[in-house]
Symmetry: C2
Subunit: 713 residues, 2 copies
């Protein structure tokens, strides 16, 4: 039995040798972006579904760069098992990326499998938002364009031909620890394993620095997302079984108590069936959905609907999608073949007619993150062996499902020239242009903070949501982080009352509020008001994300790539140009903060600090742990309770240092007219004790009124 | 870019349709064993390396059976992604197997990936001893012959074509829990996903019952292992940094204190280099290894050497294996290409000359379980993308590495007609004939117990080793389990003194013994003496494993497949024909025991219990929690401190019930001469108040002397 396959095997080895280390063809696909191709490329890849064109103009304006290695040194080998890519790596390089990694930050020396999943599982690389993309602090990025389950060895393998029998002088050791010390050496390459691939495309993004490499990636992906301006306010998701009357009452609570809120999210009960989904209003609980949505709109609330993409037999979408779905069911529901435009259009058309045109301003796209992968049971998604009419297989579909789902839903809004801010449970590469925030059930605050940093290497938006808490301190610390993130979200899907009135789930649902509920509410009001004050600044940071590709939230190493103290700094981050955030967790009364070169001001104490050093801060629970960079202006608005199309922001410019400047991006905030030039930039400057405002651009209705200047020295 | 691959894709779909559900060719390969083949079979599979011939004679004697489905209902489909196998499953079937599963017992409804690894990771199926093999309580077994990473969906997927839009009447629900209840349905099949495979062999083992199906599997694999008889005594592994003098002192401790011990295991320091390995005695610490081994032998100790298979540049094996190794290193050491007989022979020849011929009676084959798989870093093994001169790839090599390593080492002993009992950190299918006990670092007592049961579905031997403990109670409970297992092992690789003198690591290594050390030592002596008493009985159970394929340790469902109470009973097991063990853990002062049909005697209280019911037992820490089946005889020997080639066991027959019987297998215990008929069976019977012993067979030197009979009524 064995013998008859020896011929096959020999052929196999010959083929291996033939393909081994054949370097692919290289072409330039955009300014500073090169693509190397080798072998036969998969039909279904993240890039094949990229929904936007590169912003070539902006790419052209980035400085020219030189890679630290010759592009020909990237080796691609294809054999019967799959494809292997080897990319040079020098001994001092630090690596970041692989999407929204949960457990690690600096990926040098690690093995990473960026695979769609909500369970970090020993930090193997599983995440809601995987990308097969990393950047180096030497100033370049590499993307392996595949939707297959891929493993990256980030400089932690050693090849036989490298070592030639070198050995260290260890001789037995004298302690048990020494005896088990290993004699390993690491390699000078990133090695990428793509089983099943018969070839590969590798995109290389030049720098010259890590931030510019990220900008190139984001601009190549269509530019960063610019959410609807109201999306930068506060989102609150109500209890899963709330009916129309209860949602109404919750809305009244916010307005009566002057707690800012822009979006209310509905959870499963709005539908007649949810596991799987019917996408049909449940009239027993929402008897008049259109009236409800309208009345909410009148009170300044946008309505966001929870759903997932597994289509119940009870859904009007079932029959139309019956022949455009995978051959395995999830919760008895169809898995739409989103890789087929026709299937995506059926799904989108229904949503447009039934929901978007009737005022629904966004969706929470749940359960697209293959919980099956990390679970011993298997009822939460479709198997990898699934087949789809388009030809995509289950493995590739898993990697792309969240991406295609959000593309489908976002496309509705884009075509209607209506902006949105979505929630999505999974994403992938080339998705920078989608205004969809990722979220998670994992709920470790330290990880949620780290994911803010990692989102900047992923071209993704991350929402470190707040739910219940063990202590008020924990709740407030989490709220601080939520305010200092891309989306401030309270997810109360299992809470009758807002968590700030009762942090304990059981008591909350019995209506037993905390004794000091009103004090905690006041503290939360203060934090959320700060969030509303920050909207113009954040909105400008998102405009920089869109037009220049600069991540609005990013690790310090991206701005200070030469500073070794930033290489492993995974709990501080930049927001826009001027703000450095250093969040605290429940465990901390104080924390150490590293401030990079330059001078910095503690926002709360207004004390000035010299950069390049470590300090200790002790912010109160109702303060924000942030520093402002000298030479910048922080434009803070008078807080509003929600952002309406005609909101005018009254702004005070806080000037840090003797001379300072800032910019504010201005447009209608709700359409894509900015793509056709309908926007302004306000240039703010403080010089010689004088504030100067210059407005340039084609947007006619101003939204910002500069009221005051305040200098902090 | 996308367009040019559309032709490929269409072709791909056509190929998919072509192969879809083509059923393979079926042939009978042994009595009651059928093989279905479809597509192109991999060169490297567990079966391709099966080291033994089927025991056809024994297979022939098993009763004929009929599968509960037609063999043609097993569907195999091959497409561009890999191979999928679907096996029928009825609604009431219970499934067991997938090797030495750590976290689960009854696998029905689970997703299982039986992949070599020491980390159970959410009970995904990773284990030191994976097999792509399961058995059903309907009386058959199925083995997918592949060394690729394979996923089994055990009746938890639903296909689109099965449901045709059926739906349950749920309407929104009234609680949050109900809202999230899913509308799933499960399928009537086991679905197997083998990515990368271009075809597959499926072995089907007929029953008629689950035990007979297991017997067929074991007999087809060459019959179960029969370890050297001294292997059934007590093994003690000394501290990793002990030198020759310290080992000698430890040996004296055992004999001076009359604590049974047959094997002493040496850990890393015996070598000049261990991570990676030199396989050279470190003369600084073992100045005269040959004298040492001989003197130990004279005191009745066998010496077992720790090693792993990654070959240091300091090793004499390095140059000979330099061109017969994988292209990636581990700890700077070579990975021998054990799939190539020439490489295996070089490794074996060196071990034979250097160690086995000089009296080393066994090895502990460590680190062959790919710790990389479940770790975010990657320095503990070779990458899956590794290539080997034989043509096997890294993924397949991982699945087979422990199997091939033990085959290589075991082959030395087999050829020398010298029996052994090995330790190995990984194994796979068709390995029943290897006398190698698996072990683990995981150390959860509940899991260690469950793995005893699962070993019976794996054709493997499991050693629930004892190390340190939190409490004396924990230590004693673990010792009870170790005594009631296939190998009684104390692994003190980081302990200066035996753990029964001090359970706390730090104090142990400082030489601070417990106040009641002598009492605990006395309790341990009592337990280990019981182990020595049990050797003839255990040895007979292993003979049944070898000659009949009956697992010596097995779940109750194997003996009582009709009894629903056994389906999920994962903490009780049978030892041989007569003993039911119900181990306790640290948490328990008492436990519930289910006794199946028939009558049973509590070994300690001698109380008789009626089967089919649950009882509560409260064994002391120095007792064994076992029951004896009515109608059987438990032959217990007068304990010896070690088993030598001329040990005569003086046996008392404990008779349970009015009429009872048992058998004892007798041979030299140390050679393979039994394969040529050099063995006896002692038939023991108690009838009409009289004990009868009949000895039949060709072994000339008797080892058993029946001294007494004692009747328990």
């Amino acid at each position: 039995m064995v013998k008859r396959f020896i011929f096959n095997s020999s052929l196999f080895i010959i083929l291996q040798l033939f393909f081994l280390f054949a370097t692919g063809q290289t072409i330039q696909v955009a300014p500073g972006v090169q693509k190397i191709t080798s072998g036969t490329i998969d039909q279904f890849t993240p890039y094949s579904f990229c929904g936007a064109l590169p912003l070539t103009g902006a790419l052209t304006q980035l400085p020219a760069a030189k890679l630290p290695f010759s592009i020909g040194e990237i080796k691609i080998s294809v054999n019967g098992r799959g494809t292997v890519v080897q990319i040079p790596l020098d001994d001092t390089e630090q690596l970041y990326g692989f999407g929204m990694q949960i457990g690690s930050f600096n990926q040098r020396g690690l093995k990473k499998r960026p695979i769609v999943n909500d369970n970090p599982l020993n930090d193997l690389g599983y995440t809601h938002g995987p990308t097969t993309f990393y950047v180096s602090n030497k100033g370049y990025g590499v993307l392996i364009n595949t939707a297959r389950y891929t493993t990256f060895y980030c400089g932690n393998t050693a090849k036989l031909d490298q070592s030639a029998g070198e050995t260290k002088a260890t001789n037995g050791g004298n302690s048990v620890e020494e005896l088990y010390k290993n004699d390993g050496k690491i390699s000078g390459s990133v090695t990428v394993d793509i089983p099943g691939a018969k070839g590969i495309e590798v995109f290389v993004f030049e720098g010259p620095d890590i931030k510019t490499a990220m900008q190139r990636y984001n601009l190549f992906s269509g530019g960063g997302a610019l959410p609807a301006i109201w999306g930068l306010g506060v989102k609150y998701r109500v209890k899963a079984d709330f009916n129309q009357y209860q949602v109404d009452k919750m809305a009244a609570y916010f307005r009566d108590n002057h707690i800012p809120c822009d979006v209310l999210g509905l959870e499963p009960r709005w539908q007649t069936a949810s596991y799987s989904c019917s996408y049909v209003w449940n009239k027993s609980f929402f008897p008049s959905p259109e009236l409800f949505v309208d009345s909410m709109k009148n009170k300044g609330f946008h309505i966001n609907l929870w759903e997932h993409a597994f289509v119940s037999p009870k859904s009007p979408l079932y029959q139309p999608l019956r022949n455009k779905a995978g051959n395995y069911l999830v919760w008895n529901g169809l898995v739409p073949d989103f890789a087929d435009t026709a299937a995506a259009n059926i799904f989108a058309d229904y949503h447009r007619q039934t929901f978007v045109k009737k005022g629904i301003s966004g969706f929470k796209m749940d359960e697209c993150d293959n919980s099956n992968l990390a679970m011993g049971n298997a009822t939460w998604s479709f198997p990898e062996l699934s087949q789809f009419p388009s030809g995509i297989d289950g493995e590739q579909m898993h990697q792309l499902f969240g991406l295609l789902y959000q593309k489908t839903i976002y496309g509705i809004y884009k075509k209607l020239n209506q902006r949105t801010y979505l929630d999505v449970r999974a994403s992938n590469a080339f998705a920078s242009s989608y205004p969809a925030a990722l979220y998670s059930d994992t709920y470790l605050h330290e990880e949620y903070i780290r994911m803010i940093l990692n989102s900047g290497f992923a071209g993704m938006i991350w929402s470190p949501e707040v739910r219940e808490s063990n202590t008020i301190k924990d709740f407030m610390r989490r709220s601080q982080t939520a305010v200092l993130s891309a989306q401030t979200l309270y997810n109360s899907w299992y809470l009758q009352n807002p968590p700030w009135l009762q942090i304990n789930i059981e008591k909350n649902n019995k209506g037993e509020l905390m004794g000091d509920a009103k004090q905690v509410e006041a503290d939360i009001r203060k934090l959320l008001n700060f969030r509303m004050s920050l909207i113009p600044y954040l909105y400008n940071a998102f405009a920089d994300y869109h037009f220049k590709g600069i991540p609005p939230f990013r690790a310090l190493v991206m701005d200070y790539p030469q500073d070794k103290n930033t290489f492993n700094l995974s709990d501080e981050y930049m927001i826009g140009e001027s703000i450095l955030a250093a969040p605290l967790t429940e465990k901390m009364d104080e924390r150490k903060v590293y401030l990079p070169e330059g001078n910095w001001y503690d926002y709360n104490t207004r004390q000035k600090y010299e950069g390049g050093k470590y300090y200790t801060i002790r912010p109160d629970l109702n303060q924000l742990p942030i520093f402002i960079k000298e030479g910048t202006i922080l434009p803070l608005a008078k807080p509003v309770e929600y952002v309406s199309p005609d909101t005018k922001f009254e702004i005070t410019c806080f000037v840090y240092g003797q001379a300072a400047k800032a910019a504010l991006f201005e447009d209608d905030g709700i359409t894509f007219n900015y793509e056709n030039g309908a926007y302004n930039y306000l240039s703010l400057a403080w010089n010689k004790n004088k504030g100067i405002v210059k407005r340039t651009g084609n947007f006619k209705n101003s939204r910002y009124v500069i009221k005051n200047w305040e200098v902090i020295k």
